[in-house]
């Protein structure tokens, strides 16, 4: 007889098929039977049992991908369970045999998924071990099985028929009925579980952590138990609220998750017996239902108030039949990242089992179904809670982390029992050990006092005036010359009225003049405000006005009201008293960052703050006069300070990239490049270099690479270490402009697991992770990263409210000190390192650039042809989705007038309307991916060189057919990809194509011609044989 499966069975069948070796769905009944045992009677009793319960003789067949349940007739050969009798000899071995069985998977294609073993420890001492696949029985079924087995065995011994009432319903009838009910419940669940929140779990378990993959070796259970009084108080609380202990514990579990993740929308699954009709009660089968409860913890309610909410949710949700997650339209991990179950089944039979006494026996079950899984049971008046974890955090300390979590749950239960009217943010969760951890991980904000940056550089000048300070192309200038030129320009600034406390703009190309200009501004007692050489005029004017600056060191013509100072201008140095020492409280520089309301904001950083940073970097980066440090970052970003000043403060040589940052591979490959010792790169750029690691001319003396700006990829770090081992130190840094360049660092040396961390607070810096109520959280919990100590900026120029909101009182620092709220989410790992987890708000990072989409959106909405605008990131590019009549081309031109290049979207999608979720937010999943337009007149590549170039572009840009007239940048190419184009061309032809060429020869045809020219030039220096080989490879 063949029957359809219930929806729940279908799901299990599918999951088992996806991973046949998975033992997650093995159910077991393990009991110790002491006394005289009749093994034949046991065997007979199982035959009786299988005849009675259809599930115990049901196997599963697949036909055209559809599973069917096939029940063997009672008594048929396949329908009588085989009882395996195993002499164990001792308890130790019995235990091992049981553990093997309960942790073994079932192949659903191989007959009835049921195994029975009778393990003999001694003549009067046996262990019964029944295992079956969940698809034929649930937890409730195990109780029935034991009861019915006891009766059948006793009846056999006594020579009578078992006293069991006939079963009114068969599992196959139930399956058909349940299919119809589930169909009707689909709309309810689709609506109730729409827009599931990000499935965060404590301690990096589940999807979000480093691993995200189940690891049986690290999986396990951690058990805690409450006292009797706590259990009684919680039970009383339940009754006062006309609910059950389950609801109270479920509420507490939601609070535990909330306090660890900050989420207020929390999904927790649970199991309900699904036996709400009398006729379903005596059946063996898979009837239990997995139901997801959606907790709403918004508004920091009291525990009692939250209990009322949970009660209401449980009453509604638990009365509905569950439906397979696949039909709700979201992956199971998103809908049910974790479960909580309160077990109430009895552990022993309710009927006599012959003359045997039935006891417990350790099962050593190791399977954990979810990242985190909580179950509770009552024992001796207390509540026993066990937390199962599946090894998915990737941390070798996972068991320890979950142990802490269990301890915290215990504390929380005690706190809720004692003070149910407290807000959930005020309930005790963190242990004394947690509080001690928070203090020791936070770091020390008090730095040792030391000289300001200009004094450190003056010391370098005094020590070795003839050492080379700056190299720019063919130009080299010594420390003495740098100092002399800075003094001259400073005098010129003084003559033009610059005074202490002023702000002076610097808008120059990458050049020695630019470095001189920064030093000259400081020497004149002012702060510098750096710009891109091609900064849009509107933004330049806005920023200068905002900073109250009127003078700019530049070669550009400036609008009226602004004074341009020639970078080569000289003043009479004798006419003023000379530089005064910079006070720690003087502003050193102002950097404008993207502002969410549409206006950029100027961050003012004082000399004391940047001096603390530069002193730490000089020391930590081990800078010496022998170092050659590449200046990669644009001066308009604060990363430039991390390159320029530790180098100059140590008397090292700064190597500029006059052709632009993207020409770094050219610089490394050119004469002199081999002498570079230190690189400081945006993480996104470094990722691209690592992709082509064998094509880059890494300098033999390279000893340190500092990366930062984005989440580093574990794969890239592994690849890097595979190539360089510990020879080149790799330092991952993190920090916002508001905390003076960087605030944390991690040495990515040594063996690592999972995603690279951002490390620990650096010198003179504190880091706390704060929850929504402003309280610090310990290891395993997520909070907002807040930075205190010497590097905290003065604030945002002329933005009192913004400054007061972001720079807040620091209770852990000196009296009156402030700390900066970054808006970044992070977590302390078990090792006390910080793991970066993205933004609290919508701020984006594109190739290392910090972007407030709100700023771009506000500018787009200024355009009369735009109705709605939404800006996001897709494939390392800024993408704008707009409605209205304007074209992408028009809008790009509109933005370019006011915004710097990195804020102008590279891809445009015009829609009739923005897709919205049922909660009214932009539905990111429904946004179409931007499509690249290739040029109108498509001419396929013809020559060998064109074919090669087109093929490489097509692969790196992800475009099917590239024509010879297509422009690299119009197709979505950017400087990071250009690095890889050059590397691929080199790999294919052996010819070094300068980065500059990729930028200048922007079409396939142009670049192909350039490539041919380079090949010819190379050929002239080659033997005939080498040339032949090369030409044939270029054609391939």
């Amino acid at each position: 007889m063949r029957a359809p499966l219930s929806p729940g069975q279908e799901r299990l069948w599918l999951l088992q098929k996806l991973d046949p070796r998975d033992a997650l769905y093995t159910m077991y009944l393990v009991h110790r039977l002491r006394g005289p045992l009749d093994a034949d009677a046991i065997e007979g009793a199982f035959a009786d049992l299988a005849a009675r319960h259809e599930s115990l003789r049901t196997r599963f067949e697949e036909e055209d991908g559809v599973p069917w349940a096939v029940a063997e007739p009672p008594g048929a050969p396949g329908g009588v369970p085989v009882v395996e009798r195993i002499p164990a000899g001792d308890e130790e071995r019995a235990r091992r045999l049981v553990a093997e069985r309960v942790n073994a998977p079932f192949d659903l294609a191989e007959g009835v998924p049921l195994r029975v073993a009778l393990v003999e420890i001694g003549p009067l001492d046996h262990v019964l071990c029944v295992t079956m696949h969940h698809i034929i029985g649930d937890g409730w079924s195990l109780g029935i099985l034991l009861d019915d087995l006891a009766e059948c065995y006793t009846a056999r011994l006594r020579g009578r028929a078992p006293d069991l009432a006939p079963l009114p319903v068969r599992p196959s009838d139930y399956a058909r009925w349940q299919r119809r009910r589930a169909d009707r419940a689909v709309p309810y669940w689709q609506e109730r579980l729409a827009d599931p929140p990000s499935p965060d779990l404590p301690c990096g378990l589940g999807g979000e952590g480093a691993g995200g993959v189940r690891d049986e070796d690290r999986a396990g259970y951690q058990v805690v138990r409450t006292g009797r009084e706590v259990a009684e108080a919680l039970d009383r609380l339940a009754r006062e609220h006309r609910t059950t202990l389950f609801t109270v514990l479920m509420t507490a579990y939601q609070v535990l998750l909330h306090r660890h993740t900050g989420q207020t929308d929390i999904l927790v699954g649970t199991a309900v017996a699904g036996r709400d009709r009398v006729e379903l009660e005596p059946m063996v089968g898979y009837l239990s239902q997995t139901v997801v409860l959606r907790g709403d913890l918004d508004g920091d309610p009291s525990f009692a108030e939250l209990l009322r909410r949970t009660r209401q949710e449980a009453l509604t949700a638990m009365s509905k039949p569950s439906v397979p997650f696949e039909r709700i339209g979201h992956p199971a991990e998103a809908l049910m990242p974790t479960m909580f179950i309160l077990h109430t089944q009895n552990t022993g039979p309710t009927r006599p089992f012959g003359d045997l006494s039935v006891g417990e026996f350790p099962d050593d079950y190791r399977q954990v179904k979810l990242g985190l899984y909580a179950e509770a049971r009552l024992e001796d008046g207390g509540i026993v809670v066990s937390l199962g974890h599946d090894g998915s955090s990737g941390s070798p300390h996972e068991a320890e982390a979950v142990r802490r979590l269990a301890d915290r749950f215990l504390l929380l239960l005690e706190s809720a029992a004692a003070e149910p009217h407290r807000r959930i943010s005020e309930l005790r969760v963190w242990t004394a050990g947690d509080d001690a951890d928070i203090r020791s991980m936070a770091g020390d904000g008090e730095g040792a006092p030391g000289p300001a940056v200009p004094e450190m550089i003056a010391e370098s000048v005094r020590r070795a005036p003839d050492a080379v300070a700056v190299v720019c192309g063919e130009t080299e200038i010594t420390y003495a010359e740098l100092d002399r030129r800075a003094a001259r320009l400073a005098a010129a600034l003084r003559e033009r009225g610059v005074r202490r406390g002023d702000v002076v703009g610097v808008c120059l190309p990458r050049s020695a003049e630019a470095i001189v200009a920064l030093l000259a501004v400081w020497r004149a007692g002012a702060a510098y405000l750096p710009f891109e050489p091609d900064e849009p005029e509107e933004r330049l004017v806005f920023a200068l006005a905002d900073a109250g600056a009127t003078r700019v060191i530049t070669n550009r013509a400036l609008p009226e009201g602004l004074t341009a100072v020639d970078p080569l201008a000289g003043g009479d140095e004798a006419a003023w008293e000379g530089p005064a020492e910079a006070e720690p409280g003087d502003v050193a520089y102002v950097i404008f960052t993207s502002g969410s309301t549409g206006r950029p904001k100027g961050v003012a950083v004082e000399h004391g703050a940047i001096a603390a940073r530069i002193r730490w970097m000089r020391e930590e980066y081990g800078m010496t006069p022998g170092d050659r440090v590449v200046q990669f970052a644009s001066l308009s970003f604060d990363t430039h300070l991390e390159e320029v000043f530790p180098a100059l403060a140590a008397g090292a040589t700064l190597v500029l990239l006059p052709g632009g940052a993207a020409t770094l591979p050219d610089l490394l490959a050119a004469p002199g490049g081999e002498r570079v010792t230190v690189l400081d790169l945006p993480t996104a750029y470094w990722h691209h270099l690592v992709e082509e690691i064998d094509q880059i001319a890494w300098p033999p003396g390279l000893r340190l690479v500092v990366i930062g700006g984005e989440q580093a990829s574990g794969g890239a770090v592994a690849r890097w270490r595979g190539r360089f081992g510990d020879r080149v130190r790799l330092l991952n840094t993190y920090g916002p402009t508001e905390a003076a360049v960087i605030a944390t660092s991690a040495d990515l040396g040594g063996p690592r697991h999972g995603r690279p961390p951002i490390g620990r607070p650096i010198g003179a810096t504190t880091v706390h992770l704060l929850d929504a109520a402003g309280a610090p959280v310990p290891k395993g919990a997520i909070g907002e990263l807040v930075i205190g100590g010497a590097g905290v900026a003065r604030g945002y120029l002329r933005r009192p409210a913004l400054t007061a909101a972001a720079f807040v009182p620091d209770p852990s620092g000196r009296p009156g000190s402030r700390r900066y709220r970054t808006g970044d989410r992070a977590r302390w790992t078990q090792d006390g390192e910080l793991e970066f987890l993205g933004r609290i708000d919508g701020q984006l990072k594109v190739r290392g650039f910090r972007i407030e989409p709100g700023e771009v959106e506000a500018r787009l909405l200024d355009h009369p042809g735009v109705g709605q605008a939404f800006v996001t990131v897709h494939a390392e590019e800024l993408v704008a989705y707009v409605t209205g009549t304007a074209t992408g081309e028009e809008l790009a031109a509109h933005l370019a007038r006011t915004l710097p290049r990195h804020l102008v979207p590279a891809a445009w999608v015009v829609l009739d309307s923005l897709p919205l979720t049922s909660r009214g937010k932009v539905d990111r999943a429904a946004l179409p991916a931007p499509v690249r337009e290739t040029s109108a007149g498509h001419v396929p590549p013809g020559t060998d060189a064109e074919l090669l170039v087109a093929e490489i572009w097509a692969e790196l840009l992800g475009i099917a057919a590239v024509g010879v007239n297509d422009d690299f940048f119009t197709l979505g190419g950017h400087s990071l990809l250009a690095t890889r184009i050059a590397a691929r061309l080199r790999r294919a032809t052996g010819v070094e194509v300068p980065m500059r060429t990729i930028f200048e020869r922007r079409t396939v045809a142009e670049l192909a011609v350039a490539l041919e020219d380079l090949l010819v030039a190379d050929l002239e220096n080659m033997s005939e044989e080498e040339a032949e080989r090369l030409l044939s490879s270029a054609g391939g």
């Binding site: 508004g299 409280g585 929504a772 003065r794 604030g795 002329r798 007061a804 909101a805 620091d810 009156g816």
Partner: protein, 62 residues
Amino acid sequence: MTDSPMLVVVNDEDQYSVWWSDREPPAGWRPTGFAGTRQECLDHIETVWTDMRPLSARDRGR
């Protein structure tokens, strides 16, 4: 930070910020007397914090 009532606080450098009304401000900070929602406090600060230089920098004229 939620909608709980907040205070405007100021430190010895005449720098402003906000703090919870039901918690003691950290050492070196004192309430100015203004209380309200977080947004009301920030709006108030926008009008009263006119010279954003720290007091010690103002004394030196920079």
